[in-house]
Symmetry: C2
Subunit: 170 residues, 2 copies
């Protein structure tokens, strides 16, 4: 089987070197905490107001403030800042924590659409950081699609004991 990393690269069109170029500079030091809070607030304001009901409904069971905090704490931790996310919630465990949600390719594309708009309309994110972050987000979104497909493969129901091969004997 192809690795999660290889699937993420193929589907996103972003190779792993570009996806993890977020590690070339310390983006947390460069941008600062408030910029990450602003980005996630901007992003989730778009998501919770999305005209596409199918996408908006994915988030219906989470409070917007919680979604914002979970996201910016993870971004801060992953992009060179203090481990805010793990101190509060433990390991990111990205695939497992997305298990309750239908992370389809269509959902990944919609997530990325809103994130591109949020990046473009959040002040204080320079062009180079924006490219690095968007590559990371694209790769990660499709990494989670790959993770979601693993889940489907594992939740196939077992063959039914009362299936068609039995009905002639009943």
């Amino acid at each position: 089987m192809q690795s999660l990393q290889a699937m993420a690269s193929e589907w996103s069109g972003v190779d792993s070197a570009d996806a993890f170029s977020i590690d070339d500079t310390n983006l947390f030091q460069k941008l600062g905490l408030q910029t990450f809070i602003n980005l996630s607030t901007n992003f989730y304001t778009r998501v919770y107001d999305d005209e596409e009901e199918w996408f908006r409904s994915i988030f219906a069971n989470s409070k917007k403030e919680d979604a914002i905090q979970n996201q910016y704490e993870f971004f801060v931790q992953r992009m060179g800042g203090p481990p805010l996310y793990s101190q509060r919630r433990g390991h990111p465990a990205l695939i497992a924590r997305h298990r309750p949600f239908p992370v389809t390719r269509q959902a990944a594309e919609r997530w990325l659409h809103h994130m591109q708009q949020a990046l473009d309309s959040t002040p204080d994110i320079d062009a180079d950081s924006k490219v690095k972050m968007m590559n990371f987000f694209k790769h990660t979104a499709f990494f989670l699609v790959a993770g979601d497909e693993l889940k489907k493969n594992q939740t196939q129901p077992a063959p039914c004991k009362h299936g068609s091969s039995n009905h002639q004997t009943s």
Copy 2:
């Protein structure tokens, strides 16, 4: 439902502040790359030679060298060093990547037994770092047990269409 973090703390007896005290100092800078390589080599030498066949067999489909590299690259990345693991394999996604394995409480205890011995017999790991790392390992091991139990809950087969409620009509 209790959070993964809360279950990990309860089962391991390590609260999250102690588990993530690995972030109080940069353990990679303190210990250096070679110490992490030595620790993982020491650990997996014990695991692959384990007299307990049930535990040893969990690793039977992985090459020892690969197991060592995956582990020390993750430790280095998580404990303040360069993101070696993600550059090669993507997000750690700890729970998802352990999905093929039976991460039971018994397996967690056995893993921790070998890790304690490996820590105690790897030169250049000072007592304070050892305590911090062992707390992190205990908490993480039971975080993965919690993740494994989620998996079980999700792989219950769907109710059978040809189940007992139907047999009277056939």
